[in-house]
């Protein structure tokens, strides 16, 4: 099922973000010598697509030599596959970070090493985790434009009445908030039993406990470690203590929070605009509370890549656009995304955007699956963590045994995949 919780952003009350003062000028990339028109494919079909269109229009009007033709596609992966099979890939495309290694290994996209060299940027200009996520066999294949972490949304009014005026940030305050909601009779779910909620929380807890998805040479799935067990048992424990319902159906964390029937919600940052519109002044957003030893949160990222075989003026034009877009992400951020680049995050105009900067405080803890093909399946795929987590939440399951079972499956998949993609 296409996640109904996936990015659908309606920009409401976007602050004035005139390009002046933003790092829009000063590109070190030269525009191409002759005019080029390039196709640019994106999976943004909602309000985020409108925002992207505005950005592309601005780019086109500023740079007559490079004209980008934006396409919004819904059956994203299938359409990319078909285009590749037909030899009709666009020059520039968005890749979700967890698909970069797969698209690189199957030669859909080519390295952007020379762009990175020309720009003179490195991991310190983004975050180290997002930077590493764009690698395949230690070669960089794409440039991140945003980071979208799991987020804790909270209702200032309901929690305020219980004397809680700050967003829960650690185990104690998070559980106190849950208890306060119980006492106030507000029992809507904080997470729902669905990838884009329960699994995002689980992965965040897993990272907080220092969990690693695989061993270093990717021959063994290791999410059945203590960190994996702790993450699962923490969530199961909240259910057993009666602080959280066992079986909240998919998306009910969104509908309950939106209608004031729950005091907190855990899902992706992309729900920010929707909740802002529904709750107004009562709305608050924060990073996922730190339950275990270190900050950590699940995150995704949209990255920009160029198709394999692109060269000459077209490649130069593509690079020019990628650089421009990665530096002009303020409007994009207002739709519920954290800009990937440090200089945009530090721009005063970014801090003016409501709520998103609050979430961005946890951006250094945002982590991604390992840079190998299919690694997103470790959490969400058939037989992966999500299935075992939902079994544990709704039934009487030996957590360690369940995770061992999933890890055994994925160890087998890792080894098949190692053979197939030679890593």
């Amino acid at each position: 099922m296409p996640p109904s919780g996936s990015p659908d952003m309606s920009p409401s009350g976007s602050p004035d973000m005139s390009p002046s003062g933003s790092p829009g000028e000063g590109s070190v990339i030269e525009p191409p010598a002759t005019a080029v028109s390039l196709d640019y494919w994106t999976p943004f079909t909602g309000a985020d697509g409108d925002t992207m269109e505005t950005l592309v229009e601005r780019f086109n009007s500023e740079t007559p030599n490079v004209q980008m033709a934006l396409q919004r596609l819904d059956e994203w992966d299938t359409q990319l596959n078909n285009a590749q099979a037909a030899g009709e890939l666009p020059e520039v495309m968005i890749l979700r970070i967890d698909t970069v290694p797969f698209r690189a290994a199957t030669e859909m996209v080519q390295p952007v090493t020379d762009l990175i060299e020309q720009l003179g940027v490195g991991p310190e200009d983004f975050t180290e985790a997002v930077w590493n996520g764009t690698m395949w066999k230690d070669v960089q294949y794409s440039v991140p434009i945003d980071i979208h972490p799991a987020t804790l949304y909270w209702n200032r009014k309901i929690l305020g009445e219980a004397g809680i005026t700050e967003a829960p940030s650690d185990r104690e305050s998070f559980e106190a908030a849950l208890q306060a909601c119980q006492d106030a009779g507000i029992t809507g779910p904080v997470w729902s039993n669905h990838f884009f909620s329960a699994s995002l929380f689980w992965a965040s807890l897993f990272y907080q406990g220092g969990g690693e998805w695989t061993n270093e040479d990717f021959t063994e799935a290791t999410f059945n470690s203590q960190a994996g067990v702790d993450a699962t048992e923490y969530m199961v424990g909240l259910v057993e203590q009666g602080l959280h319902p066992a079986d909240a159906a998919a998306d009910t964390e969104v509908s309950s929070f939106e209608s004031g029937q729950s005091c907190m919600a855990i899902t992706g940052i992309w729900q920010t605009n929707r909740f802002q519109a529904a709750l107004g002044e009562d709305f608050g957003a924060a990073p996922i509370p730190q339950i275990f030893d270190q900050p950590g949160s699940w995150a995704g990222s949209h990255t920009l890549a160029v198709r394999n075989g692109l060269e000459g003026n077209e490649l130069q034009g593509a690079y020019y656009f990628i650089d421009w877009l990665s530096r002009n992400t303020l409007e994009w951020a207002a739709g519920g995304q954290i800009p990937a680049r440090v200089d945009v995050r530090e721009d005063p105009a970014f801090q003016e955007i409501p709520d998103v900067p609050d979430i961005a405080e946890g951006v250094e803890g945002a982590q991604y699956p390992p840079p190998i093909p299919g690694s997103g399946d470790l959490l969400g795929g058939p037989g992966g963590v999500t299935e075992k987590l939902l079994e544990a939440l709704t039934g009487d399951v030996d957590v360690q045994a369940a995770l061992d079972d999933a890890a055994a499956t994925y160890t087998q998949i890792l080894n098949e995949s190692k053979e197939q993609y030679d890593f």
């Binding site: 596959n81 669905h194 399946d377």
Partner: protein, 320 residues
């Protein structure tokens, strides 16, 4: 199907035997009938025949949706992966296959019984019966995404209409969607509400074709309504019932959208995932393994062929 092929002998019978040569119209050749079916046949070959055989071919390759048909030939390896219990692919495939069979067993008798009863009711004379006929048929015109979302919300544990009604009666509602067997029941209820009109309308048309004097004669002989239904309506409906049962088995076997939307294949581990949803996920979401997905499709298609043949055999011997 019998209903479709039945009318064809009629026009041929009109010509007198032995005189057909002379009756043949000018320009009519041995291939004339084939020319008439050519438009449909060409579309059939292009849209169904070719993909069918291409699918069998793909199932013999180690294909992903990226490699397409340029993938290496691996013979029956994909089939082996489905039938070898040690393979990690076989468990989920057969689990979802049996899920589908469970749904067929649950849904076919339910859908036939309810639609038969509804058709009998709608066939009797009462005020505003055309309104009711339209009302029962109406949901069938909706798309699966509409009915899926509709029932998804109705079965919600917080604020769902069904749960609220059960609660309002002072009873404790089961946790639909997230526990068994309630998740299957939720899918079944949604399916009944959605598709019942189609069977009903066909059965109703069949009932309207039964000669009234049969009922008249039966009632003179003292048969009550139930006996009339049992001994006149049901036997007269047999060809139509064969059609309805066959179509229903195929439709139930093709279960896809309702669990995808209502339960997301859960709870929690693929317990309501039908085989076609599993096939789709394997081929078109991650890991894009279309070779394996094509092998699944071939296995499912073969099972369907066997089921349909058995079904026709069973009904035709019943009739004889």
């Amino acid at each position: 199907m019998t209903a479709m092929t039945a009318p064809t002998p009629a026009p041929a019978a009109r010509g007198k035997p032995g005189k057909t040569e002379g009756r043949r119209r000018i320009g009519e050749k041995w291939y004339t009938p084939y020319l008439f079916i050519l438009p449909h046949l060409s579309i059939f070959l292009l849209m169904i025949g070719w993909p069918f055989f291409y699918g069998i071919y793909i199932s013999l390759l180690d294909a992903t949706s990226v490699t397409g048909a340029s993938a290496p030939f691996v013979g029956l390896e994909n089939y082996q992966a489905l039938f070898d219990p040690a393979s990690r692919h076989s468990g989920r495939f057969w689990q979802t296959f049996w899920n589908t069979v469970i749904f067929v067993i649950l849904s076919v008798p339910t859908l036939i019984a309810i639609s038969l009863a509804l058709a009998a009711l709608l066939n009797s004379k009462f005020r505003a019966r055309n309104v009711f006929r339209a009302v029962y048929f109406a949901p069938w015109t909706l798309g699966v995404s509409v009915i899926g979302l509709l029932w998804f919300w109705m079965f919600q544990p917080t604020g769902g209409l069904i749960v609220d009604i059960i609660g309002g009666l002072g009873l404790e509602s089961p946790r639909w969607i997230s526990t068994q067997p309630w998740a299957w029941l939720a899918i079944l209820i949604a399916t009944v509400w959605w598709t019942i009109g189609f069977n009903t309308i066909i059965l109703l048309a069949g009932m309207q074709g039964i000669a009234l004097d049969l009922y008249e004669a039966a009632s003179i002989d003292g048969a009550n309504k139930w006996q009339q239904f049992r001994h006149i309506t049901i036997p007269s409906l047999k060809p139509i019932l064969l059609l309805v049962v066959t179509l229903q088995i195929i439709a139930s076997f093709n279960l896809f959208g309702q669990p995808q939307i209502i339960t997301d294949g859960g709870p929690p581990t693929a317990q309501t995932t039908p085989v076609l949803l599993h096939l789709y996920v394997t081929g078109f979401r991650s890991p894009f393994d279309i070779g394996l997905a094509a092998a699944m499709a071939v296995v499912v298609a073969l099972v369907m062929v066997v089921v349909s043949v058995v079904n026709f055999k069973f009904f035709s011997t019943e009739r004889a």
